[in-house]
């Protein structure tokens, strides 16, 4: 392992504050991105299940699998829990036991850390391409089960002589859709010189943070890796880029690592209590036997038409390892709402975190956003029927809203799924008493829990990456 005079935390902080010193001028990013979109031919078309190639339903179980039994499969899950309103149900679930690899390669230019960003096509993406980490790969990609090309830059991550590790941690994916899926989130700093491909460019963290303000531009994989970044924040005055009351409160929130309204030990005790109190008993069952779900020629859906369906797609692309293939995808039937309520306590911004049980969770509960739900289900219901704080965030005044953007879920498995991401500042009218599975934390405390496996769920991590301490007042 190479040593460096600069800690990872200080490199990240400098990069987050750097916009003008970036090697790629900020006003050229979107034109470059549009150029990449036009340079490639992509085509996606839903097809009947019977037209899938190399994919099919296992005759015994009804599970939807690849003939190699690799990649992923759609199976059934029976869920029993004492969390929430519904004690028992069955549903399809994506089973992908392999740990995936999501990595940014970084390098210093003019002393400032830059991230190698890829304009990457994923079949389910809104707009087909989005800004992505340098590498998104599964072990099946490494071993080239699909007989395609090896992903670019793979060797920079698998062979550590290429650089030093700044971040390297396992993180969970959507517990409502995946059974205990995890990805390895990595950031490597290299000092090597190499030419980058046409679909890649070097951006500072500050540029990436600004791009998060656009709908469906920075993909989920990039957002989760960015969420693993911790800044080296000394005490003392905040830099110029941190302006306004809200920016200052947020800056102090990132600096409050060991204590906020609760100490880290108190938060761990609260979280232990949640794991002790809630049962989650899941059992994998054959997809063919899942109750209340029906299979037609083109989809597997719930009898009521709610939740999501499993569909089949044919994909054509000219810049992927394999240029044409078919695969199953999961299509959401309702748009979701993902929101943090934030509030100033003694000049330090706090984030309202929920302990949430989801069936595919690795360890019963994870720390989730203040609100994480599908909104369609509640359209005809009064405020009393809604989950906590949904009514509050949907009725926030414009001056309370600090972030409001549509963000995509992962385009490799999800068909054009986007969720509204909201950050809402609580007013004096916000309830003081919280349900027992909610707690206030600082941004610095949440970052600390992200360092360890399976504490913070993917929705909370991605939304936290949007809570940049710069320009939140603009």
């Amino acid at each position: 392992m190479k040593t460096s005079a600069h800690s990872a935390g200080s490199l990240f902080l400098e990069s987050a504050l750097a916009v003008d010193s970036a090697v790629m001028p900020s006003d050229t990013i979107l034109p470059w991105f549009e150029g990449r979109r036009l340079a490639h031919r992509f085509r996606l078309e839903p097809i009947p299940f019977k037209d899938m190639v190399k994919w099919g339903f296992d005759p015994k179980t009804g599970n939807l699998c690849h003939e190699s039994r690799r990649f992923f499969s759609i199976e059934g899950l029976r869920v029993k829990t004492n969390w929430g309103q519904i004690p028992e149900w069955e549903q399809p679930i994506i089973v992908q036991p392999e740990i995936g690899l999501l990595g940014f390669l970084t390098k210093r230019f003019n002393g400032v850390l830059h991230f190698l960003v890829q304009a990457k096509m994923e079949p389910g993406n809104v707009n087909m391409i989005q800004l992505s980490p340098t590498l998104q790969a599964t072990r099946s990609n490494f071993s080239r089960v699909h007989q395609g090309r090896a992903p670019l830059y793979l060797e920079k991550f698998t062979d550590r002589r290429h650089g030093r590790v700044l971040v390297d941690v396992l993180q969970s994916e959507q517990g409502a859709r995946f059974l205990r899926k995890r990805n390895r989130n990595i950031i490597i700093e290299t000092e090597q010189n190499f030419a980058v491909g046409d679909d890649y460019c070097w951006l500072t963290l500050g540029q990436l943070l600004r791009l998060l303000r656009y709908d469906n531009l920075v993909n989920m994989d990039a957002r989760t890796v960015m969420s693993c970044i911790s800044y080296a924040l000394g005490p003392g005055a905040s830099p110029e880029a941190v302006s306004g009351r809200f920016g200052q409160e947020l800056w102090r929130s990132f600096q409050s690592v060991a204590a906020g309204r609760s100490s880290n030990e108190e938060i761990i005790s609260w979280f232990t209590e949640q794991k002790f109190a809630f049962d989650l008993d899941v059992e994998r069952i054959p997809l063919g036997t899942v109750r209340e779900w029906v299979r037609t020629a083109t989809e597997i859906r719930h009898e009521t038409g709610r939740y999501f369906s499993v569909i089949a797609c044919r994909v054509e692309a000219d810049n992927r390892e394999v240029s044409a293939w078919t695969q199953p995808m999961v299509k959401a039937h309702q748009r979701g709402l993902i929101a943090f309520v934030v509030k100033d306590f003694d000049g330090v911004l706090h984030v309202l975190v929920q302990a949430k049980v989801e069936p595919g969770n690795f360890d019963v509960v994870e720390m989730a956003p203040s609100v994480q739900c599908i909104t369609g289900s509640y359209e005809n219901e009064g405020p009393d029927q809604l989950p906590p704080f949904v009514h509050y965030v949907l009725n926030a005044r414009p001056d309370q809203i600090r972030f409001d953007t549509l963000q995509s879920e992962e385009g490799g498995r999800f068909f054009r799924e986007e969720n509204r991401n909201l950050i809402v500042e609580a007013g004096a009218d916000f309830p003081r008493e919280l349900p027992s599975n909610y707690i206030w934390m600082t941004a610095g405390q949440l970052k600390e829990f992200i360092k360890y496996n399976n504490f913070v769920n993917v929705q909370a991590r991605c939304l936290l990456s949007s809570l940049s301490f710069i320009e939140m007042d603009k």
Copy 2:
């Protein structure tokens, strides 16, 4: 939650350094303990499976269960892994999905924190009674499935108005014997006055740490809860009780929380790599179908007679919730060896930690002692056939040995199982190159990982609790 002028860490440090100011003179502890042993009648007798009451083999699966289907059961497990020498095997495993509760009630006397210690009988204990936490209970105990009395002091832990929480975290148990079992390790500080039962006494942490030097005296549950304690260690000179070169190095080791030879981030990256590299695929199977294991009238054992067996026992006791019962127990066939190799780097003691896969692990690998194995299997083998460092620790010179004590495993499930616990100081001859699943850490770093779920295994935690920074030179 009550507030206190004293942090948990400083209360623990004061208590660890306090011996003379304890409410119970140290020289009266062992006589009191012997008195408790004589005051009760205990009887344990192995019986044929058919003489068990309320326990039996399920006719369909052959699983050994209680008629209520509560408490625990003995089932089968099929294991596949790329860790170690054996890629696939089947074995019996203890399944106990409930999270247990292990708790010390503490209280300040003369300003010094004291721990309420119980002289508790467990059927499998060597010497029948051992020093135990205030409370050992499962949810079945709470709900009184066995129709007995509720455990003493239970309400002090379940109703938080009784005190403030000093420690509260989930920890794993033996991954070779239990399927993903976890316990909640709790320490509560109370300010209430109450009389304590005959089987209880108040001891300081310093007294408990000294008692760890006796064979089979402090039980596993007490040791794991003690391992969750973090001390508030400021920089600067060490207290008088910390004496000698080794004591000073160890004191600095506890103080090195954020960095040792590796930073915490580097350790997390190393651990992520281990989870990425190793597969652990386990499947619960009926006990009746487990290959290579045979069931006789009195035991379930491996064909070769190695590893362990499952037996049935009848227990009589006069100070338990229920005075007589039968239950299955697990009986080890060979004594185990649990050792930390420790080494000074720049004046700071480091502990050699192994990433170890065990079939019942919650998350593939946990941080384990430098050596953790059964020794009987290796008696006739040369040094090359032994797991790493076994030969080294078994051949250490007397002046390298800092701790050498027999410690018991949990007596509620294990029949008189004791393991040799060793702490060996590495000499100049110790290899510089380590296998890739080993790493040097400070005691402070290991303590930091213990704060989070399922990082450090029970053997490493219990042995770490023996690595007291006082009197290690004596």
